[in-house]
Symmetry: C2
Subunit: 310 residues, 2 copies
């Protein structure tokens, strides 16, 4: 059994590769819900839905989020009632949030809802939100705190990040099955996601970091940074503004003590000795997931390296 | 001031004519909420929305309900999650229900929501739901009770109707302003709507029938039946299955004691003496509202006949 801690786009691409390398039913995904939001009274879970759409082969390949071929009639019509247009939720995407919201109102916990949505899309992975309790990622900027989607979508990350707060995390409990999935897995993989706002909220739920630090599973992380740049999202900017080295090594340092293997791109092969000096092995391989073959090859390489561990 | 008791399609066409004959701000609409329903967790108010769309010039002219040019991506996408496809809510139409549902959850009463939605569509009529409290029209058929939309949309009225129940009506209070709008109007008009399931639920809210019976306003009703047939909806079928005469006269009898003037089509001129024998005047005029001119002319004729009363 393989457990993956997952954010949005990068994680979903890695999971596509993993699901091509091993049967879906051997995969447990622990999904970030820190960037969930309320939009027009709907509970939207962007990272969870990206993972579902990607594994169902339905994700918009251009954006990496949302559904291929989706339309935007509802969000356009909502403008009349004063709703902001910046959160660009597609119509079919919105149907998913409508169903989720209805189930929430009926009292379903988030982990049952995630399982129901994954099932409706024909998935066989086990999809667990990090917590059934609300945790909200807030970005600390020069003018105060911003909800994550405002920072990410409305302001297009054009804000200096000074820190983060995961509101609600202290009181949140891991969703049922999360700690077991980390403790009892054959391998736990931190997907190539933003270490601060994708993996960070998951590790902020009390008990999850400890389970990862103490598990006997083999543990790996894949760098979201290649040659000092990020494929998608604000990870590089955040590393810089928070005073970290903007490189795979900078990410590896954040995961010190939590992983046994760090996966970095061939472009960063020169960093491998410094990574290994942190007390983890380094796997240097192609990490740019531009094709199904590359995705599968990356997952297979990570699994092989984990198996090959002493 | 003119107050109109209104159901869906027929009422909305009459209101288009009335709004062409007098300024919108002189019109109060009391809207049937008996066929409101929950769809995928959304509070949908079909009759109220038909009135808004018609007065805003945005209604689908072919169906008489929904928005012209609307799409159906959300309801199609909801099928994956097990939602029935028969309730064909358009995407832009759904946006309205999304906003309404959000305001309801925030604690807004229905009459404030109706006013907000009418304002968002640029209307100047005063739009009042009959009650802020839930009233649900149930159709008594051979196999028990059916929610109104199941009877109307899913079963396409292919059920023998044996009676009605307006669940919640006994405990419902008229929305603020409803009784005053009936008592203090210059004229009260019962739109050419179904007397059982459009006007009936409104009159079932305690106090409304009494206000109508006792008002000093001049009162009219427009027959939804022309030459024994209904333009739209199941009114003719219901008259028949409940043992009433399937004619304008059959409708006039239902309104005995509640109106001073009954408006029937030129095709039914021969029924005028029997209508007048019920203790109300009869106005015979063209009632088929096929064009804007005919709609305006009907409204003007009704107002003129009310003004001409002794």
């Amino acid at each position: 059994m393989y457990t993956v801690l997952a954010g949005g786009v990068g994680a979903s691409r890695f999971l596509q590769g993993l699901a091509a390398a091993v049967p879906q039913r051997e995969i447990t995904v622990i999904s970030n819900t820190g960037d969930d939001l309320d939009f027009a009274g709907l509970h939207v879970s962007p990272d969870t839905d990206i993972v579902i759409y990607a594994l169902a082969g339905a994700v918009n390949p251009e954006t990496g989020w949302g559904l291929a071929g989706d339309t935007f009639a509802v969000v356009e019509a909502l403008e009349r009632f004063g709703y902001p247009r910046w959160f660009n939720l597609g119509d079919r995407d919105l149907a998913m949030s409508l169903h989720r919201t209805r189930l929430l109102r009926e009292g379903w916990p988030m982990h049952r809802i995630a399982a129901e949505l994954a099932r409706a899309w024909g998935l066989e992975v086990r999809l667990l939100p990090m917590s059934d309790d609300p945790v909200r990622t807030l970005i600390e900027g020069p003018e105060g705190e911003l909800p994550f989607q405002e920072y990410m979508v409305r302001l297009r990350t054009e804000v200096e990040v000074r820190g983060f707060r995961f509101a609600g995390a202290e009181a949140a409990r891991p969703a049922p099955g999360v700690l077991e999935a980390i403790r009892e897995a054959r391998a736990v993989i931190l997907a190539p996601s933003n270490p601060f706002v994708s993996i960070g909220p998951i590790l902020a739920v009390p008990g999850i970091r400890e389970a990862l630090a103490g598990t006997r599973a083999r543990r790996a992380a894949v760098s979201p940074i290649i040659a000092g740049q990020v494929v998608k999202g604000p990870a590089a900017k955040m590393l810089a503004s928070l005073g970290h080295e903007v490189s795979a090594l900078g990410v590896a340092r954040l995961y010190r003590g939590l992983i046994d293997l760090f996966v970095l791109d061939t472009a960063d092969a020169g960093l491998a000795p410094e990574v290994e000096a942190l007390g983890m092995r380094a796997l240097v391989t192609e990490t740019l997931m531009t094709t199904p073959e590359r995705k599968r090859a990356l997952a297979a390489a990570v699994l092989a390296a984990l198996e090959a561990a002493p």
